[in-house]
């Protein structure tokens, strides 16, 4: 009996482990090694820290890096702030018959690819776009304004892209919140804000943290939205990595940048977990 279970385990686990090893661990080891190698004056590859030194010596690199981190945290926070009322409405206010329908509406935009969604925004926002057209017609503007290619638009686009990944864990966290807890708090004299901060948010903490981790990682690693909606000055760190790999064909430098990004996201998530006193395993559940 025990023997059989052992074999079943191996049978089912092997593809997963193989997949993890071949597609994730192996390339990362290769990239890690690559990031420590540079071409010396004679065209030979040697071991060196210079890829990492470049990052610290060149302000454009680490400024972009810090910018990306700060904006990702901001986007995560804004996504949370917008998704919480939505999730609350769907789980606690809307009548049960509409809950499924409303959750569907949240999901709907994700049936088309991110590229199409971003182009949708561009059609709306660009200088000759739909919104400008209407504002001109209504006489609110007398000259079209460029609404694309700035940080505000980029952040908005990133929040929009991330909404679903925050709403779904929040909805499931709020669904498990007993309505009578909210009523009891109300009965004991709490106003809306103390119910939010003392009852709803502490109860939904695992959902908030898991949603935040997903949104933060997706935003940090997003390439399309910052590139298409952000302006010339809104550089995202993924663009730096792309430039190294594709434009400069400097794979070693690109690999070093990639690892710095990995360290950054791990660090921010670790800090977040420590601050909210959550455990990674608990959050994943």
């Amino acid at each position: 009996m025990k023997y059989q279970i052992r074999w079943a385990l191996i049978f089912f686990l092997t593809p997963v482990l193989l997949w993890l090893f071949l597609l994730i661990v192996l390339p990362h080891i290769d990239l890690l090694l690559m990031s420590f190698r540079v071409e010396d004056d004679y065209g030979e590859m040697t071991w060196s820290f210079s890829n990492y030194m470049n990052f610290f010596n060149e302000p454009i690199y680490w400024l972009t890096f810090v910018r990306t981190a700060v904006y990702s945290i901001l986007v995560t926070f804004l996504t949370f702030v917008t998704a919480l009322p939505v999730a609350f409405y769907i789980t606690k206010v809307a009548s049960p018959r509409f809950q499924g329908f409303l959750a569907m509406l949240l999901l709907l935009p994700f049936w088309v690819s991110e590229l199409v969604r971003v182009y949708g925004w561009m059609i709306l926002l660009r200088e000759s776009g739909v919104i400008n057209h209407f504002l001109l017609r209504l006489g609110i503007l007398d000259r079209p304004v460029e609404m694309l290619y700035n940080d505000v638009t980029m952040v908005m686009g990133l929040v929009y892209t991330s909404m679903l990944f925050m709403s779904v864990p929040l909805i499931s966290a709020l669904e498990s919140l007993d309505n009578s807890l909210i009523e009891a708090a109300y009965d004991l004299g709490a106003d809306m804000w103390s119910i939010l901060f003392r009852i709803i948010i502490p109860h939904s903490m695992p959902g908030i943290v898991s949603g935040s981790i997903v949104v933060f990682m997706l935003t940090l690693g997003n390439y399309l939205t910052p590139n298409l909606m952000g302006g010339k000055n809104s550089l995202w760190f993924t663009e730096q990595i792309y430039n190294q790999f594709i434009a400069s064909f400097n794979w070693n430098q690109g690999a070093a940048f990639g690892f710095l990004l990995l360290v950054l996201s791990s660090l921010v998530i670790w800090t977040g977990l420590k601050l909210t006193r959550q455990k990674l395993t608990g959050v994943i559940k």
């Binding site: 007993d178 009578s180 009523e183 106003d191 103390s194 003392r198 502490p202």
Partner: protein
């Protein structure tokens, strides 16, 4: 007058959950609302707490009209059916929650929490988590969480429903003692008549959205005002029959549909030929009464089963030549140990123990 409810009605999509209910509760009283499941008790309580606005009628607390005042501004607190303790907080934080909302000083809060924990018999439990408590302890925390705010009226929605029988019996007595100590007005909802009878100063019996009778537990038991109350409060044997003759001394002769003749006292105006419902408590039936006692309705029954339940033991019996089932109290003084199943025994009941209602009242029971 701590609470006054006047002509309150609540309709849910054509369905009258609470129908023209009026009552008043004196300061410091333990007032129970007793009724079967779905009769509108919770709806009525939630209107007093402020979660539902009545469609008609006025609710006043200490003379102040509560219309339009939200639950967090009312001087009442509600203990929920499933307690609704905050699992993310400790016992002390749960109790301090309401005090913090009133912006009390930190030192005062700590002191009040300690004092109320001692009062409900949980000193030193402040730092425990809710899921570390037993059912009875949670109960007490829920009560402490409300009482610490000194509400004018404390509302309790079947708070003992989730406890096991033994603990429920114990909490019943404790709750009554606690209420007497703190002197807060309690409004207690239950579908368990024994809870209502044991704890209350006054009990309202509720049926299909309206009150049938508001009275002391003793009166409810001995002088039920409607057939519904007679059936719902305590056990009763019921017969339907017709009045054959009314006597001048407030008694009448009744013939049941099975053809048995009884002589019973009547309250109210009856005429010969009226259809009536006759109720009789199991303990009003005397087993093998002394032949010298007069004024008894005597008849013979066949014992079907002996339902032994300690002090609450009963005989299940059929009156002579009929299959009507009736319950007879079986005192456990060893005097009746000889009774066996299928024995024929004589039963007697006093003329004054019968309770009669005209059958027309039967329809809303």
């Amino acid at each position: 007058m701590d609470l006054s409810v006047q002509n309150v009605t609540k309709v849910f999509q054509e369905f009258k959950a609470v129908d023209n209910v009026s009552f008043e509760v004196q300061e410091g009283h333990f007032f129970s609302i007793l009724g079967p499941s779905g009769c509108g008790k919770t709806t009525l309580l939630r209107m007093i707490a402020g979660f539902i606005e009545p469609d008609l009628g006025v609710i006043q607390i200490r003379g102040a009209d509560m219309t339009g005042i939200p639950p967090n501004k009312r001087p009442v607190n509600l203990i929920f059916q499933h307690l609704a303790l905050f699992p993310m907080m400790t016992v002390a934080q749960n109790i301090a929650f309401g005090l913090q909302r009133q912006r009390e000083k930190k030192a005062d809060i700590g002191e009040k929490v300690e004092r109320i924990l001692k009062r409900v018999g949980l000193p030193g439990f402040g730092s425990k988590k809710i899921d570390q408590l037993s059912g009875g302890q949670r109960q007490r925390v829920a009560i402490a969480r409300c009482l610490v705010l000194n509400p004018t009226v404390l509302l309790l929605d079947e708070p003992l429903g989730a406890l096991d029988l033994k603990l429920r019996e114990q909490m019943k007595v404790e709750l009554k003692k606690l209420q007497a100590q703190v002197g807060t007005t309690f409004i207690y909802i239950t579908h368990d008549q024994s809870e209502a009878l044991v704890m209350s100063d006054y009990v309202a019996v509720m049926n299909q959205g309206s009150f049938e009778q508001v009275d002391t537990p003793q009166n409810l038991y001995h002088k039920p005002g409607t057939p519904f109350v007679a059936r719902f409060v305590g056990d009763n044997n019921a017969w339907t029959g017709k009045i054959r003759r009314c006597d001048n001394d407030g008694t009448a002769e009744i013939v049941t549909t099975e053809g048995q003749g009884f002589h019973t006292k009547i309250d109210g105006v009856f005429q010969a030929g009226d259809e009536v419902d006759l109720f009789l408590r199991p303990e009003a039936m005397l087993i093998q009464p002394d032949p010298s006692v007069s004024g008894l309705n005597r008849f013979e029954v066949t014992v079907r089963a002996i339902l032994f339940d300690g002090a609450n033991s009963r005989l299940l019996a059929n009156p002579h030549d009929s299959d009507v089932e009736m319950l007879i109290a079986l005192p456990q003084n060893r005097q009746y140990d000889h009774i066996r199943e299928n024995d024929k025994i004589e039963i007697g009941w006093d003329v004054k123990s019968g309770i009669c209602f005209p059958t027309s009242l039967h329809e809303n029971a």
